[in-house]
Symmetry: C2
Subunit: 288 residues, 2 copies
């Protein structure tokens, strides 16, 4: 056995499923109490840097690419022509970087309430912030709920809600009122994307979120699933909600032509992510 017996660990206990996930750490590199949350940065033995917010693992250097790619490329290759994108949350800037890989995108506004998340990301995850100075990007630190409520009607093509869990600052991002603001701000055919937790251990929350999106007036939903090791259960989803019309499908030829530099995402993965297990289909059966 190696020295892991005497190793230090960061462990997140997820109470609702009686499960815990830990990474071996070599040091705590930084820590700040922002007006909104407690942010810690650790160095790990095998996963590079780790950002923890209010005790929950948020981002590791080694495997954040799965989440950031799946939060951006499926929506952007489903919308017929995404030009104006808004990211609510997303302070680590990894989703922003992925969105800016799309040449057709003209503006991206990122609105995270907590400037400290971005300051920590710039320092400890510089690779995620590599596109922060892209002239198409505007990085704001403000209340995303207010931003969406005040956004001009029919001014946005894709809204990506890259938030923490529905507790603390993220709570107001998981309800009908917020979804109605998003719907108003989207152009016809626009798409809202939200991280939608684990199909295995948050199925009720996921189902309720889908219902709130439908109740707000979204016309069609698509829930995509993908692995995400450091989140509870290691299995995660995002949900796409489309305004005005059904999903006309995936711009597969454009995705092939773009040939983005991605670690996880590709055409087959995009299509595969839409396949839902029987137990999930059953939970969604009364929704459309």
């Amino acid at each position: 056995m190696s020295g892991l017996d005497t190793q230090q660990w960061f462990t997140e206990v997820f109470e609702p499923s009686g499960s815990a996930f830990g990474l071996a750490i070599t040091a705590k590199l930084d820590e700040v109490q922002s007006p909104f949350q407690h942010i810690e940065i650790f160095d790990t033995t095998h996963f590079g840097k780790l950002m923890v917010i209010d005790g929950c693992t948020m981002v590791s250097s080694r495997e954040n690419f799965l989440y950031h790619e799946m939060m951006s490329h499926p929506a952007l290759f489903t919308h017929p022509s995404p030009k104006n994108v808004v990211i609510i949350g997303g302070g680590d800037c990894g989703t922003l970087r992925e969105v800016l890989k799309h040449q057709g995108v003209e503006t991206v506004h990122q609105i995270d309430i907590d400037e400290q998340v971005t300051r920590m990301a710039e320092k400890y995850f510089p690779e995620l912030c590599a596109s922060n100075n892209d002239p198409r990007a505007t990085i704001l630190f403000d209340d995303g709920i207010k931003f969406m409520r005040e956004a001009a009607p029919e001014s946005i093509d894709v809204v990506i809600v890259d938030s923490t869990d529905p507790v603390g600052p993220g709570e107001g991002l998981f309800n009908r009122a917020f979804y109605q603001s998003c719907l108003n701000a989207l152009r016809p055919g626009g798409i809202l994307v939200q991280q939608s937790e684990s199909p295995l251990i948050h199925l009720q929350l996921l189902t309720d979120m889908r219902q709130a999106m439908l109740d707000a007036g979204f016309a069609a939903l698509q829930t995509l699933n993908f692995p995400q090791m450091i989140y509870p259960s290691g299995w995660w989803t995002c949900t796409l909600a489309r305004k005005s019309e059904g999903f006309s499908g995936f711009r597969e030829a454009d995705a092939a032509a773009a040939n983005l530099n991605t670690g996880y995402y590709n055409i087959d993965i995009h299509k595969a992510a839409m396949a839902l297990p029987n137990f999930v289909q059953k939970a969604f059966a009364n929704q459309k």
Copy 2:
């Protein structure tokens, strides 16, 4: 906060990736040291019973269905007409139960070296043993390596290697000599299936295993991926290796007609499981 602070946990530390996974437990129900390994049974707060072998989480009541379904149905719906099936390992009998859902299967031999695993499964996971008395099933406690070496040539349609990790009793099941025994025992067009660890944290092992299968003479490989919460990284694979000819594809119409009672597996999931991320495709690029 609930009482989880004072909760007892079973935690598996996975040293090669500096990660750990734990489930909250309410009791240790049983424990036995067999001639081969140490087996423990726990009751958990949220995942039903948990079987642990030599400190590694093996089976939980709540989420074993993903693994057992993916170890059996993709191979059985890919082989044109599987009649004679062998399971090496699989002592918890969950894979056996899934295989026996296929009406065309005439015989299944299960060979696990450790009778105590099956005795514990009968007691604590009776649902997994529901088909143990099926007249098509033969449950043997013996050395699977020897069984495959001595099997009549071209007598088996599908061999499923449902083993522990490649340390301890499972070690001899991950090399060229064993794969050659399997190849000899398979009929033309026969399929070997093996659990092949995590694409995220065992990529070298997975790539080496695939190479050993090719070196042994298998003609084509298919690696399928799926979530498995209690295994390291929560993301797992199985690899199908086919004798004599390329994969002629998935018997989709037969899968639709069979309409098996499954929690995870369905036609879309089968096809989705074959989609491989870019970083995995890159690792496999020099193999065929």
